[in-house]
């Protein structure tokens, strides 16, 4: 037997509970109204934050009377989940706790209809609920007298027709009036609002600040088009008082130490296409400068799903993840975001999707590994060439010091075997194999010369005789070694804490104290000079980096 539900069975409090839970951040309301604009096909959206109000205006198709009437419903939406970003029928209430009144002006693109104003008196709604709660606490209100949801909404929502002159433009204008002071403080900081929107809204890439902007937009658009999916982008202008700026995705060249072409990868299962990922790798073996931008962010129809850190786990270890900036643009119509946009709704499709993300991650990891192995190879080869040149230059100074000469041979062999090993493992990029060959020959030749010097010295019978002086004999070989461009000097660590901080390892005050102690007792104590101390710190840093990479 089915149960009959009366209007009193759905209490008005549900609206407060739902909106508080789904939209914990006041900026979520901005996202929700921007999302409505995107669903209305807007190309341009403006957000204006002022002393007592926030305005979000779009140039979308607007809403007529019927659509506005339906918009007040909760949990029922006219939108199509496979096309539209918002479809749960709750977003319109996202500012319930943020402002006293929500006014929605809308003019439908069909100019024959008049503009309308849909008004929500949230202040009165909250007052009614507050009074009810206080009466219940006092025990002066019985449960059958509680306000039901329908009554609350009917009492506090109005829809009226406007003269064309009051709102002439096609589109929708959302006004949040009478801002709650506590929320307003965080919303009046331009940077905070901008950085939130840059992450969650489908903005264009910044063509003037990000070298790959155009390439990524074009490529992702092309892949989506090919797959009959849409990659929608909007122009968003943010105004906080008099500061007005057009917002773009937050990616800039400054995040990288050089340029390397973005890598695109379709995210797909055996028969299913979920979307496309793009990723830009930091060419140097370093993390992306800004922590908040490291890794990949999942986006559905341009709106962020969860946070970057959530994707990290699919990369196994975060070493390479942190060296990428990227996005996973999901276009599969059946992957639906949950109401809080923290993930997709649980489904078997979601499981398969994350499996595809794992495969995608392997691909990005391999690419990073391959590329950065080459980069490491470049660095080692350059270091080895520099070292050999230096040893060559010092040969004549130490001609009378066999101990020094032996040390030099040890050094040559160490560098020789390092480069040879890399060549055997194919971890010297093909373009530099020639340099590596030249290095090996020069190193061999130098070793032979030094060996001869040692031999001559140990016989002690005859004075050293050369057909040519060593430097002249070797000169031709050394000249063939490639010129190594001096690498940009990395900031020298001043102490152990700086080493750990530069590696972005978690740190707290307690750990700092421990590190200071280790630094003083062991590292400083084992170094005879400041140079040696810094050298030891650098070595330690490289070792920790290698260790982290191997994790």
């Amino acid at each position: 037997m089915s149960i009959k539900i009366k209007r009193q069975d759905i209490g008005a409090e549900i609206i407060s509970i739902l909106t508080k839970g789904i939209y914990p951040d006041p900026r979520d309301a901005l996202r929700e109204y921007v999302q409505n604009g995107v669903d209305a096909g807007a190309n341009n959206i403006e957000i204006k934050i002022r002393t007592d109000s926030i305005v979000i205006e779009d140039d979308g198709c607007g809403m007529n009377k019927e659509v506005l009437e339906n918009a007040v419903r909760i949990g029922i939406s006219d939108k199509n989940p496979t096309i539209d970003v918002g479809f749960r029928g709750i977003g319109i209430y996202s500012s319930f706790h943020l402002c006293d009144r929500l006014d929605i002006y809308s003019q439908h693109q069909n100019n024959s209809s008049s503009p309308h104003l849909l008004s929500f008196d949230f202040h009165s709604m909250r007052d009614d609920l507050g009074r009810q709660q206080s009466d219940r606490l006092k025990g002066t209100l019985s449960n059958d007298k509680l306000i039901d949801l329908q009554t609350l909404l009917e009492k506090n929502i109005t829809l009226k027709r406007l003269d064309g002159i009051d709102y002439e433009r096609t589109g929708t204008r959302v006004e949040m009036v009478g801002l709650e002071p506590n929320f307003f403080k965080s919303l009046s900081k331009f940077e905070e609002v901008a950085s939130y929107l840059q992450q969650v809204v489908p903005l264009h890439f910044n063509g003037t600040k990000f070298k790959w902007a155009r390439k990524i937009e074009d490529k992702v658009t092309a892949i989506c088009k090919q797959r009959r999916a849409e990659f929608r982008l909007i122009n968003l202008t943010l105004q906080v008082h008099s500061r007005i700026e057009k917002l773009f995705r937050p990616y800039t060249d400054e995040q990288f130490e050089g340029y390397i072409e973005p890598y695109f990868k379709e995210v797909k299962g055996r028969d299913t296409f979920y979307g496309v990922a793009w990723g830009c790798l930091n060419p140097e073996r370093k993390k992306i400068r800004e922590k908040a931008l490291r890794g990949f962010l999942i986006k559905k129809q341009g709106f962020a799903i969860g946070e970057r850190a959530d994707v990290g786990k699919y990369f196994g270890r975060t070493t390479f993840f942190d060296r990428y900036i990227g996005e996973i643009i999901v276009v599969h119509p059946d992957l639906l975001p949950n109401a809080a946009r923290s993930d997709f709704e649980f489904s078997s499709l979601r499981t398969l999707f994350y499996e595809a993300v794992s495969n995608m991650a392997i691909s990005y990891n391999n690419r990073a590994n391959e590329y950065q192995e080459y980069t490491k190879g470049d660095e080692q080869l350059d270091d080895a060439i520099e070292k050999i040149k230096q040893l060559y230059a010092h040969t004549s100074y130490y001609a009378d010091h066999p101990e020094q000469l032996i040390e030099m041979i040890v050094e040559i062999r160490k560098n020789f075997s390092q480069i040879k090993g890399r060549m055997e493992r194919n971890s010297i990029r093909p373009g530099r194999m020639g340099d590596a060959e030249k290095f090996l020959k020069s190193a061999r030749a130098l070793e032979r010369e030094i060996q001869q010097l040692i031999n001559q010295k140990s016989k002690k019978s005859k004075p050293l005789k050369f057909k040519k002086l060593p430097e002249l004999r070797l000169f031709e070989k050394m000249k063939k070694l490639p010129y190594v461009k001096a690498m940009e000097a990395e900031k020298e660590p001043g102490n152990l804490i700086e080493v750990i901080e530069s590696l972005d390892l978690p740190m707290n005050e307690q750990l700092k104290t421990v590190l200071e102690l280790i630094d003083e007792r062991y590292i400083q104590a084992s170094s005879v000079s400041k140079e040696e101390y810094i050298d030891n710190l650098k070595k330690l840093k490289t070792e920790i980096e290698d260790l982290l990479n191997e994790e």
Partner: protein, 329 residues
């Protein structure tokens, strides 16, 4: 400020004087303007000039003439915001920003009393500074570091020009019109020093010439000379050259006598070290006042102090003929 009520004379100035000038400048510069000023809740000026204005930066105090306090009701500020939003909804302006407090305190503190940071995102083309109250006392203001000082309305002008000078992000040329309205009885401390110790011969001569006039006639001429002096100094300090059109002396709301000054400003790119004003000070001092009678602009009967003829009462013709305009605009 704030309590300002529209009256017929104001309307004549707004429509027959300012609007013509703004319209011409608009045709000349070919873009819609950024307006900064104290429009008052009724927004008469804005509505009259809206076809030339894109963006508004407005100031509204809470409880005139008392010093601002967070404990005062922000009702008037909210009303002003509502009025501006109505214009925005109608599509008459593109956007606006509103600061809660007196202009001089907002500019000095760098934020309004609600804590909003003041910023100017582009070159202002129209300044409309209606200091039309009879406030003569300086406003006590503490900046963010807690330094307390008394500020006069004139300090706001200096600060605004400094901000205008420092704007770098715009492609708009630094050319603008400033309408400055002050109460005829306006006095401030620096004005007294100015009167007692004139720094130039022409001022000394001018003060001698106005000595024999009635108290009120003398006061408006003293005000005229003082405003000329601070405008020239402040503009030059910020590398702007200025040109003043005839001052308009008239009766405003509540029987208050007001003087409206019209100043054209432009950056002098030819002289980067020192700015020279093309207009000679005595040219402005010897130009007669205008006034509003029977809802028309006319020459103010001048007791022989001002002897330079005015051929036309059209501000466009006046500005077009000026050396400042022909050389710098």
């Amino acid at each position: 400020m704030g309590e300002f009520v529209d009256n017929p004379s104001k309307k004549v100035i707004r429509l027959d004087w300012c609007k013509g000038l703004i319209s011409y400048i608009h045709t000349f510069l070919k873009y819609r303007f950024l307006y900064l000023g104290l429009p008052g809740i009724a927004l008469y000026d804005i509505e009259a000039w809206s076809e030339y204005i894109d963006q508004i930066i407005a100031f509204q105090c809470r409880d005139y003439p008392r010093p601002s306090s967070i404990s005062q009701s922000p009702k008037k500020v909210a009303e002003m915001e509502e009025s501006l939003k109505a214009l925005e909804r109608k599509g008459l302006i593109k956007t606006f920003s509103l600061y809660d407090g007196y202009i001089e305190e907002v500019l000095l503190r760098g934020r309004d009393i609600a804590g909003n940071i003041f910023s100017q995102n582009d070159v202002v083309t129209i300044y409309n500074l209606d200091f039309c109250n009879n406030l003569t006392a300086a406003l006590p203001v503490s900046d963010d570091k807690g330094t307390a000082q008394y500020v006069y309305k004139s300090h706001a002008i200096k600060k605004l020009l400094e901000i205008q000078r420092d704007i770098t992000s715009s492609t708009r040329p630094k050319k603008f019109i400033m309408f400055l309205t002050v109460h005829a009885s306006y006095r401030e401390k620096e004005m007294e020093i100015f009167q007692k110790q004139p720094e130039s011969k022409y001022l000394l001569d001018y003060f001698k010439r106005i000595q024999r006039l009635s108290r009120e006639e003398k006061q408006i001429r003293l005000l005229k000379a003082y405003i000329l002096d601070i405008i020239r100094r402040y503009f030059a300090h910020c590398n702007f050259s200025c040109h003043l059109l005839p001052a308009i002396y008239y009766e405003g709301a509540g029987g208050h006598t007001l003087v409206t000054f019209t100043i054209a400003g432009a950056i002098d790119t030819n002289n980067t070290i020192r700015t020279y004003h093309k207009q000679k000070p005595y040219e402005f001092l010897r130009t007669p006042f205008l006034t509003v009678k029977k809802q028309k602009l006319e020459l103010y009967f001048s007791p022989s102090v001002e002897d330079l003829p005015i051929e036309s009462l059209d501000p466009v013709a006046m500005i077009k003929d000026s050396e400042h305009f022909t050389r710098l605009w």
